[in-house]
Symmetry: C2
Subunit: 212 residues, 2 copies
């Protein structure tokens, strides 16, 4: 299995955690977003979106981090599962993952920040405010969900890490990088801390990847 | 089953198509985004994000449109399935759905456009350019994927509608509303036309919903 990823990509960070939790060996090929390698023909052939991660498994080239993580569950059911077994549990985990992966992360992506500056003349301060704003919006809702749900445990859903936690940890990393006030989110902080006790999560940290 | 939705929500549009394809009866409760009903306490109790759709099925209150659609497959396996049976097929369908649901739709959402105007002083023209830009970015990649893949058929994946098509049709509706040049996308247009031959898709159209 080959993971085309990049140290600074939050979406790739999710997949690295997934592969580690499932103890699946993989080769990493860094695609530098800073050097523009993601928009070179070679990478566009893997993913016409020009995004990382892309995962090659045999003949299949897979894109979109959540789709890749669920693929690993579907294709390798004998490994640690990232989703609960029941339909409602799956829906709850997917909803938390999508809250982060649809409603926070893409809005704060590098291409978005570049557009704000280049096309709308946003200042550094406006860029930071934008970034923090969408994290606060998303985390306010996620914290409420975690506080209200009787399925919240050591992790977002129960006492085992799921797809939701794979999304949470990279997003908290970004929130800390942009100096968001995390004291507003006791459940998110607690769960993030629990995740970071596990080697599967710490080994996936951006600073430890090739090209970092 | 109760669907809390709104005529103008693309995410709710997806779930309406899913419920129609699966021939599942449901009650619709409109939550007007224009009248601010989505941020009233009653709706925030259903979904702390203040978004539609939310689907109530018995005691479960489910959020996030893709999670809801997959829940319908998981919980009601005897109904028409929205996902292929094999792991790679599922991953391909989810990737196309997420390309739209993560990388186009949230970036162009009403809250985003409001922020651009209120906080960054974007003009009407800048707002339209922003909207079209992210559709073009996403559709350029999706068109390429559909053109390159040997699994593209009458629909995004094979000859049956899947989760990818549920996302495609509302996004094409938005693209047309914002006068995007769709002649660049022969596969997307063809598949959209195929979808719109089916009553499950046409019955879900925004203009036909309560409150429209």
């Amino acid at each position: 299995m080959i993971l085309f990823d990049y140290c600074r990509s939050s979406a790739a960070y999710r997949v690295r955690i997934a592969l580690n939790l499932k103890q699946m060996p993989y080769e990493q090929v860094p695609v530098s977003l800073l050097a523009g390698e993601h928009v070179a023909a070679e990478h566009l052939g893997r993913n016409p979106q020009g995004f990382v991660p892309a995962l090659q498994d045999g003949k299949a080239m897979l894109t979109q981090s959540l789709a890749i993580c669920e693929y690993l569950d579907d294709a390798y059911p004998q490994t640690q599962q990232l989703m609960p077994a029941d339909a409602v549990g799956k829906a709850k985990v997917r909803a938390m993952a999508q809250l982060i992966a649809c409603d926070i992360h893409p809005v704060n992506n590098l291409r978005m920040l570049k557009y704000l500056v280049a096309e709308l003349g946003a200042s550094d301060e406006q860029k930071t405010t934008w970034y923090q704003h969408w994290i606060y919006k998303g985390f306010d809702a996620l914290e409420q969900m975690l506080a209200d749900s009787d399925t919240t445990g050591d992790f977002c859903y129960g006492d085992q890490p799921t797809l939701a936690d794979l999304c949470l940890v990279p997003q908290v990393f970004n929130a800390n990088r942009f100096k968001c006030d995390m004291s507003r989110y006791p459940n998110i902080v607690r769960i993030n801390d629990n995740c970071l006790k596990a080697k599967a999560f710490t080994d996936a940290h951006p600073d430890l990847q090739p090209g970092a």
